[in-house]
């Protein structure tokens, strides 16, 4: 009697512990995704010009506003006349804080910069073509220039922009299109490379290999999954990158293809293990009846075993893609990280995870770059979530008979 009671108490305890841990895990995941989106969403409320700074022009200038892209081109010296952005035909004189400060002595500016607002104002008033970039706090009521209105970063600029210059001043460029395309490009290529190899090994292990070979081979393949990704990246940089360069006669070996090959090797264990497990669930009775009807071993494999395991195989593919999309270190080392829209596999690309890994550590907390990186995280989250949901749907589909 006593024992039974205690057992029941123990059972309840275990049950509640399980429930609690299940609940906590779910809560943590939900909180993480909420955190990701709230941190990232602030980006679209941020100004295109660095926080606390303003862009000013001479009063005689007709320009009403400038896009971040135009601002960057002006300060890079690629746009040199106001005519090119819709103004009068006068040359643009970009003025940075340092340019202005270096024109005056320290006494003229004052120990606590108390004379700086006036000097700035004078400098802008004297130059009709000036475009000045300096801290907002130095504008006083007597300011002789005109401040360009602050604009917020738009969804279109973020998702449709083609340039990623997160630390450019005065106007950082946050175009994520090359990054999203780069990620998809590398992942899809990786899965196309991994799939034939993965399927071949899975079929071999499930149907052809004898027990002894399987017992050696399977743990070996699973071991591949345990190698740290940075080791794969190093291997890729030393071996695959030079190989690709000499085979395709390219100027540079750090390409999407190098990333795809490394990722393919990394996705193989997942694909092989899941697909092989699916194939081995084919009931013996089905295989035997196929063979009894006179089908050969190969006919049985591709008419009975593969169709029976098709949902499992699809799940393997989708899990492999998921692994490829989220991979960071290996890709960071071999793809060259150039933020350009890729047209072929033999061009360098920059992926989302590599961007986050390379930049988040040094970006100032709460800055626009920080928010843009969180938004990238959110995009990655949505991508992998979509893939997981897809995998779940495929797995639940009724089996083909």
């Amino acid at each position: 009697m006593f024992n039974k009671k205690r057992n029941r108490f123990g059972e309840t305890l275990v049950e509640w512990t399980l429930r609690l841990s299940g609940g906590t895990t779910t809560l943590v995941i939900v909180l993480i995704s909420i955190f990701l989106f709230t941190e990232g969403w602030g980006l679209f409320k941020s100004s295109t010009v660095e926080k606390g700074y303003v862009l000013c022009v001479n009063r005689s200038n007709k320009i009403q506003n400038l896009t971040p892209k135009q601002v960057k081109e002006i300060f890079d010296g690629n746009i040199t006349s106001w005519k090119q952005v819709g103004g009068d035909d006068i040359p643009i004189e970009p003025l940075r804080m340092d340019d202005i400060a270096s024109q005056y002595t320290e006494e003229e500016i004052g120990a606590n910069f108390e004379h700086l607002p006036q000097k700035l104002s004078e400098a802008i008033a004297a130059k009709p073509g000036a475009l000045a970039f300096f801290p907002e706090q130095f504008i006083n009521i007597n300011f002789l220039g005109r401040v360009l209105p602050a604009e917020t970063i738009t969804l279109k600029e973020y998702f449709g922009g083609k340039e990623w210059f997160p630390t450019a001043t005065p106007a950082a460029q946050f175009g994520v299109l090359p990054l999203i395309l780069g990620t998809l490009w590398v992942s899809i290529a990786a899965i196309l490379i991994a799939l034939p190899f993965g399927m071949a090994v899975a079929i071999y292990l499930a149907e052809i290999a004898n027990n002894r070979v399987r017992k050696i081979l399977k743990p070996l393949i699973e071991l591949l999954a345990g190698i740290p990704s940075v080791v794969y990246g190093f291997f890729g940089l030393i071996v695959i990158v030079p190989l690709i360069r000499s085979i395709f006669h390219l100027p540079v070996g750090e390409t999407a293809l190098a990333g795809a090959i490394v990722l393919a090797i990394m996705a193989l264990p997942t694909i092989i293990t899941v697909a092989e497990d699916a194939m081995r669930t084919t009931p013996l009775a089905m295989k035997e009846s196929s063979l009894a009807l006179g089908a050969t071993h190969w006919q049985t494999i591709y008419r009975v075993v593969i169709p029976y395991a098709s949902s499992g195989i699809m799940a393997a593919i989708v899990l492999g893609i998921g692994r490829a999309i989220g991979e960071t270190m290996a890709v960071l080392m071999v793809t060259g990280n150039a933020a350009v829209i890729p047209h072929t596999l033999t061009e360098p690309v920059r992926t989302i995870p590599a961007t986050i890994a390379a930049e988040l550590g040094e970006s100032a907390m709460g800055s626009v770059q920080y928010q843009a990186l969180f938004m990238l995280g959110a995009i990655l989250f949505v991508l992998t979530l979509g893939i997981s949901i897809w995998a779940e749907i495929i797995r639940k589909e009724p089996k083909v008979q």
Partner: protein, 270 residues
């Protein structure tokens, strides 16, 4: 047993909070300051903890007051200075060593001399083929560090004169990766700390006077000021805590400290 452990941990924590000096910031300075701290601790017996993260992170910590010294491979930015001032603090700086940047190309490249203007053209994408600067007919592959690195910023300010890098630039996560890539890519060019350049890459002689004199990046040239791409490495601290941090800084500036600078591969001040 548990209680003893906990109290031990508490005591250790308290002790470290009282006397420890915290140094944070630039990853370029990190190996140097870490070595300095090791030998300083052996000598003086006070604890110095050194952590990296980047120049920006060091300054942010100094503004928040969570570090005593900020290491930096660039001078304090204007808005960082303003933030310090708004918090009622004044930043003081001291140069502890210098670091020269070498421009490196593949050893098979015939080009040895480049002017600053040519380097600007190469890294901003206006010059795309080696034959435009007197080399063989092959495309230039420019390697850069990641956007958030202090080296990236320094190179942009001093060599590119604040212009942005071209958008197709290849960015590598570490100096070692740049050396590796340049050594195996024929048309490559990149920049690394002088101490990192080895025989697997070729160092370019640079001219800052429009091609009149080209200076080889050597330690002697960098120290004498002939080689132009040299940056100072700073320690920043708050004026009020000068008494607390001064012994450590003085140690770095001492003869003993400066021999460590040489050993780590940076340039001594004298």
């Amino acid at each position: 047993m548990k209680r003893i452990l906990i109290s031990f941990a508490l005591v250790a924590m308290l002790a470290s909070m009282v006397s420890a000096q915290k140094v944070k910031g630039s990853d370029t300075c990190l190996p140097l300051v870490q070595k300095e701290a090791e030998s300083y601790m052996k000598k003086a017996g006070t604890k110095v903890t050194v952590t990296g993260g980047g120049s920006g992170i060091g300054f942010a910590a100094l503004i928040e007051g969570t570090t005593d010294i900020a290491m930096a491979s660039r001078s304090i930015k204007f808005d960082e200075k303003m933030k310090m001032q708004n918090g009622g603090k004044a930043a003081k700086s001291v140069v502890i060593a210098k670091d020269a940047l070498s421009i490196v190309v593949n050893p098979s490249n015939k080009v040895t001399n480049l002017t600053r203007e040519q380097l600007e053209g190469i890294f901003t994408g206006k010059i795309t083929n080696w034959k435009q600067v007197g080399g063989a007919d092959m495309p230039i592959v420019a390697y850069s560090r990641e956007t958030t690195s202090g080296t990236y910023e320094f190179f942009k300010e001093h060599v590119l004169k604040n212009k942005n890098y071209k958008s197709g630039i290849l960015s590598m996560p570490a100096t070692g990766a740049i050396i590796q890539s340049v050594s195996q890519t024929k048309g490559a060019i990149g920049y690394v700390g002088m101490a990192y350049a080895n025989s697997s890459v070729k160092e370019i002689h640079v001219s800052y006077d429009g091609g009149k004199t080209f200076v080889q990046p050597t330690k002697a040239n960098a120290k004498s000021g002939k080689y132009p791409i040299v940056r100072p490495l700073f320690l920043y601290y708050e004026a009020k805590s000068e008494a607390k941090v001064k012994p450590f800084i003085n140690y770095i500036l001492s003869e003993e400290g400066q021999t460590i600078v040489d050993k780590v591969g940076y340039l001594e001040l004298k």
